[in-house]
């Protein structure tokens, strides 16, 4: 068995998931993990797939290239990846960042996190419509040993410079 990271992106239309998963199934593959979403009208597919040893990477690439051409996708990629032990991702807090839209918000906040060894485990952003668009970013982060108060004050300082509002809260642990 070997594992591959497969990504694809294309203008959203019906049939993308069916076509990509069809290729994988035909090769005896199993989708181990996936994330798919429409980003600004483009449907983005990210998945980790396990393929039997006899399935060739060359054939996987060729079949997916066929899908790319048939559906007019913008990009497809295949990379062999190391099989990793999967545990919890350690996410401990939710970080909400919002403010008038301008370049640099994601980087500014992410730098504060990276400098302190805080891992981003999930992230979504969106921009509202309207005359003055608002950028909203919600992240789940793993603080590890870092105290939440310490991170909060660093984030508040950065937020002032970025002219955004930030809230750091413990991750809701209760399963719903």
């Amino acid at each position: 068995m070997s594992e591959f990271a497969v990504t694809a992106i294309g203008r959203d239309r019906p049939g993308i998931v069916a076509a990509v998963s069809g290729v994988l199934l035909a090769l005896g593959g199993n989708i181990e993990d996936s994330r798919m979403a429409i980003l600004r009208g483009h449907f983005a597919v990210m998945l980790i797939v396990e393929l039997p040893a006899e399935a060739s990477r060359g054939r996987l690439e060729a079949e997916l290239e066929g899908v790319r051409e048939r559906l007019g996708l913008e990009a497809v990629s295949v990379s062999e990846v190391e099989r990793l032990e999967v545990g919890g991702n350690g996410a401990s807090h939710v970080l909400t960042v919002y403010g008038a839209d301008h370049p640099g918000i994601v980087h500014g906040v992410a730098t504060v996190l990276a400098d302190r060894g805080v891992n981003v485990t999930d992230l979504e952003t969106r921009v509202t419509g309207g005359a003055e668009p608002v950028y909203v970013m919600v992240m789940e982060v793993a603080l590890g040993e870092l105290a939440a108060d310490e991170l909060s004050s660093a984030l508040r300082e950065a937020a002032e410079g970025l002219e955004v509002d930030v809230s750091l809260r413990p991750l809701e642990a209760e399963a719903l």
């Binding site: 019906p14 993308i16 069916a18 939710v94 909400t96 419509g129 309207g130 608002v134 992240m139 809701e172």
Partner: protein
């Protein structure tokens, strides 16, 4: 809260709410984030200003049709006054009728439940927010007990008095965060629910059932 619905389409080209029908000068514009006043802590309300602020809040709330709550800072009035009225709202199991709460304080809170919220001051975004299911609020004119939907609305409005928006209360990055967005038709003009490629999330998009709790 929720029933304010998408408020911008209700406004005429003149910028007046559609329900505006005459010289109701008390109807005011709703401040939109990132207006900084929405992030400020409001001052205690003076008894002499209660009535005037309440009239503005009620008239503005009513002008949005099904709006069920609004807080003074959303009108740029930095006093601790909110109005809530969930009567007749389908999600309201119980209702205290029109509530005008000056200098309110939550004295008791019980239970907790996640519900989807939006806000007139932050259009196009919704998130799942956990709120107490029952609150007792002490205010200038007495004490009121609220449950369920009404309790959620009251907590959302009281947060406005402290410069707290519902985004500050998001507790997890669930699939429902951000999901209330209006999607343009696809290339073939199909409705979002017909897009197999993006299922299953798309299943709930655009359906009336997925409308979030929306409040002032």
């Amino acid at each position: 809260m929720s029933a304010c619905g998408p408020w911008r389409p209700r406004r005429s080209e003149a910028g007046r709410p559609a329900a505006w029908a005459g010289p109701r000068l008390s109807v005011r514009e709703i401040l939109l984030y990132p207006d900084r006043r929405l992030k400020q802590v409001a001052s205690p309300a003076q008894a002499s200003e209660f009535d005037a602020i309440a009239v503005d809040l009620i008239e503005t709330m009513r002008s949005f049709g099904h709006c069920v709550g609004i807080a003074a800072p959303q009108l740029g009035l930095m006093s601790r006054v909110v109005v809530v009225d969930v009567s007749g709202h389908p999600k309201a199991e119980t209702s205290s009728g029109l509530l005008v709460l000056a200098n309110p304080r939550i004295a008791e809170r019980d239970g907790s439940k996640v519900g989807r919220e939006g806000c007139l001051s932050l259009p196009d975004v919704t998130a799942n927010v956990r709120r107490a299911t029952r609150v007792v609020v002490e205010h200038a004119a007495g004490r009121v007990e609220c449950e369920g939907f009404e309790a959620r609305c009251v907590q959302h409005e009281l947060d406005h008095l402290d410069g707290i928006l519902f985004l500050d209360r998001v507790e997890s990055l669930t699939d429902d965060v951000f999901r209330r967005r209006s999607y343009a038709p696809g290339p073939e003009g199909q409705s979002p629910t017909e897009r197999g490629a993006s299922a299953p999330r798309s299943k709930s998009r655009g359906s009336a059932a997925s409308d979030p709790e929306r409040t002032g």
